[in-house]
């Protein structure tokens, strides 16, 4: 009985011309409706625009993560790398480096962190999962060690500009995020590099024999994600006006959840930027609504954890047998 329902549901979803993005959009509307009924404050323009100040940081990282997951890779170290960049900016500034140089140094640290990951992944051909699990501990440990678990927060007023400026009612980081979305979408959907990304995810062996420069593509992906992490870290540090080593704890969960919710297969070869953006909006809506409803952060992480497993379960369960 149940088995036949599942089979027919599978068959329906396989044959239906309903695109995944449409389903996600419907889910987004549903979540929004539920949240609006929980809090009258939720569905106001001020709140929605305010929400975008938070999801821009996760969003920037999720963009890089989308490409990495399409190649069947993963990066668990993004939250720790964000903390490392934040500490690098804050503490090099506190040590007397002029702030513009400190920010440049932060970008360099982000790129270096990504390059460090890609070194292990491409040169030693180690699985990204273990490498980034190692750097998850390493980056945050170094951030804690260097900052001595202390915080820097006496930034000059103009630094607040990165995370706290508005154009009319629109927060600045929303614009930064939209630009990043367009750029990454163009790269993935319209360039040879984008085709390489899908080719590696579909069949790395075949891609190798077709002459795809696998190492260079992967190195560019992990290093590029390091750059996006640095960008997110600077916006984050500016938004909260504090550089601390515990910044971005659990951020990798948000980013990965957004990507797989958006339909990217963790086994590689499948995924779109549009899907990731929709997944991100659903998560941001959930989180913001839960905050307004007075739900604690641990509970939010609980729901994210369940959501993540459920999303992947449905992704893989309704995929055609290989």
């Amino acid at each position: 009985m149940i088995a036949s329902v599942i089979t027919s549901l599978k068959g329906y979803l396989d044959n239906a011309k309903v695109s995944r993005e449409l389903v996600l959009f419907a889910v987004l509307i549903m979540v929004t409706a539920v949240m609006a009924s929980l809090s009258p404050y939720f569905l106001t323009l001020t709140n929605l625009l305010n929400t975008s100040r938070f999801f821009a940081e996760v969003g920037l990282i999720a963009l890089g993560m989308t490409l990495i997951i399409i190649t069947a890779g993963i990066d668990l170290s993004v939250g720790s790398a964000l903390a490392l960049v934040s500490v690098a900016v804050g503490f090099s500034f506190a040590a007397g480096l002029p702030l513009p140089l400190a920010i440049l140094f932060g970008v360099f640290v982000g790129l270096a962190a990504g390059a460090f990951n890609s070194l292990f992944i491409t040169q030693l051909e180690l699985h990204p999962l273990v490498v980034t699990l190692g750097t998850l501990a390493l980056f945050r440990g170094v951030a804690f060690g260097l900052s001595d678990a202390d915080a820097v927060s006496d930034f000059p007023a103009w630094f607040d500009y990165f995370g706290q400026f508005f154009i009319g009612p629109i927060p600045g980081q929303l614009i930064v995020f939209i630009i990043a979305v367009v750029v990454v979408w163009l790269i993935l959907a319209r360039t040879r590099f984008g085709r390489y990304v899908y080719a590696i995810g579909n069949n790395e062996e075949a891609a190798r024999f077709s002459g795809v420069p696998i190492r260079r593509v992967k190195a560019a992906l992990y290093t590029g994600t390091g750059f996006l992490v640095a960008l997110a870290a600077i916006i984050y540090t500016s938004r909260v006006s504090t550089a601390r080593a515990d910044a971005g704890t659990g951020l990798e969960l948000d980013a990965i959840a957004a990507v797989v919710l958006g339909g990217a297969s963790i086994y590689g070869g499948k995924g779109t930027i549009a899907g990731t953006v929709l997944g991100l909006l659903i998560i941001a809506t959930l989180r913001n609504g839960l905050v307004l409803a007075g739900v604690s952060n641990t509970w939010q992480l609980f729901m994210l954890g369940v959501l993540l497993v459920a999303a992947v379960f449905f992704n893989e369960f309704f995929r055609k047998e290989e």
Binding site: I74, L76, F120, L124, E125, L126, H127, L129, V130, V131, L133, G134, T135, L136, A137, L138, F139, R140, G141, V142, F144, G145, D148, A149, G250, L253, I256, V260, I266, Y267, S296, T298, W299, L301, F302, M303, L304, G305, V306, L308, V309, V312, F313, E316, F317
Partner: protein, 333 residues
């Protein structure tokens, strides 16, 4: 470098060299050598280090880590991963602690902790095998979800005042040897035997070495993988009661970050993260190595705040070293 020399001389000099090369290819060898060097180094550096008392205290302090690492070792041998053990340990300790403060005794809290662990492990295993969700996603989700369950059960309250009879697993001694150490060695003996000499133990290696081939020759691939996750749950339950016995109370953040130490112990010990290669001895060696390093760091005055950085660096060194060792010794077919 010395490995390269051993390899070339092995080709020329026949059986002694071959035996040497085989020994060098044992999963746990580099970690054992490193551990021995470290013990000598710390003993020269600090006078108190190489005393029987300090060695026993290191072994006792790594009991929780070691018990879980030897179980996760089986998961990794089967080609999967489990990073939910930190929260799972916290949950089992919390349940065991609550049962203990309500009903007292030793067996009932232990049973409760082991059952909860086994159920959590079974859920992991079910989602990985039947649900076809990658283990990293399942256990990452569970890491956060189980921590939420702890808060749901306790409402953020700590459990304290664990009665003495429950704390036996953490504090007791038998013939002058601490109970945690006895449990650790007993599980080591048991898992070594199971891993080497039972059908399930051999299946774990086969499934992790080449899952497609294992399926084609008719091995019960899913059942084998499922049981490794359940084993982790059972051992986490046991370890949780050792933990409760040693600390005498359970906080809501108990076990946070333990999952990383566990993975580090397994791969530093020499079990390959790709599956199919490794041993129970490797996981135990890795756990002792981590205990020694963390203990030694305190003795030579490195601030505890660098602990995560050291752990991360060790994981990377271990996995890179594994690849390089195999390249140098030409073990990759």
């Amino acid at each position: 470098m010395s490995e390269a020399q051993a390899s070339t001389s092995g080709n020329r000099a026949g059986s002694t060299g071959a035996a040497m090369r085989r020994w060098l290819l044992q999963p746990a060898t580099p970690a054992l050598v490193f551990l021995a060097l470290l013990l000598v180094g710390f003993s020269v550096g600090t006078e108190r280090f190489l005393s029987i008392g300090n060695l026993e205290s290191i072994l006792t302090s790594v009991a929780v880590l070691g018990l879980i690492a030897m179980a996760v070792n089986q998961v990794i041998l089967a080609g999967e991963i489990d990073i939910s053990t930190g929260s799972m340990m916290g949950l089992c300790a919390m349940i065991g602690g609550i049962v203990s403060t309500t009903y007292g005794g030793l067996l009932l809290p232990l049973l409760a902790a082991v059952v909860v662990g086994a159920l959590a492990g079974a859920l992991n295993g079910f989602l990985v095998t039947v649900g076809r969700v990658p283990a990293i996603i399942v256990t990452l989700g569970m890491l956060y979800a189980l921590r939420g369950v702890i808060l749901l059960i306790t409402g953020g309250e700590w459990v304290s005042g664990i009665p003495g009879e429950t704390r036996l697993l953490g504090l007791g001694t038998v013939l002058g040897v601490s109970v945690p150490l006895i449990i650790l060695l007993a599980l080591f003996g048991l898992l070594s035997l199971v891993s080497r000499d039972t059908i399930w133990g051999r299946n774990v290696y086969a499934v992790g070495g080449n899952r497609q081939a294992a399926r084609l020759i008719g091995l019960p691939v899913n059942r084998t993988r499922f049981l490794t996750f359940v084993l982790v749950g059972v051992c986490v339950g046991l370890a949780a009661m050792v933990f409760v016995g040693r600390t005498g109370g359970v906080q809501t953040n108990a076990g946070e970050g333990l999952e990383l130490q566990v993975i580090a112990a397994v791969v530093i010990g020499g079990t390959s993260i790709a599956g199919g290669r490794g041993s129970t001895l490797a996981a135990l060696t890795g756990a002792v190595l981590i205990g020694t390093i963390l203990n030694g760091m305190i003795l030579i005055g490195v601030p505890g705040i660098w602990q995560d950085a050291v752990l991360g660096a060790l994981i990377l060194l271990a996995i890179a070293g594994d690849v390089l060792r195999r390249r140098v010794l030409g073990a990759e077919a």
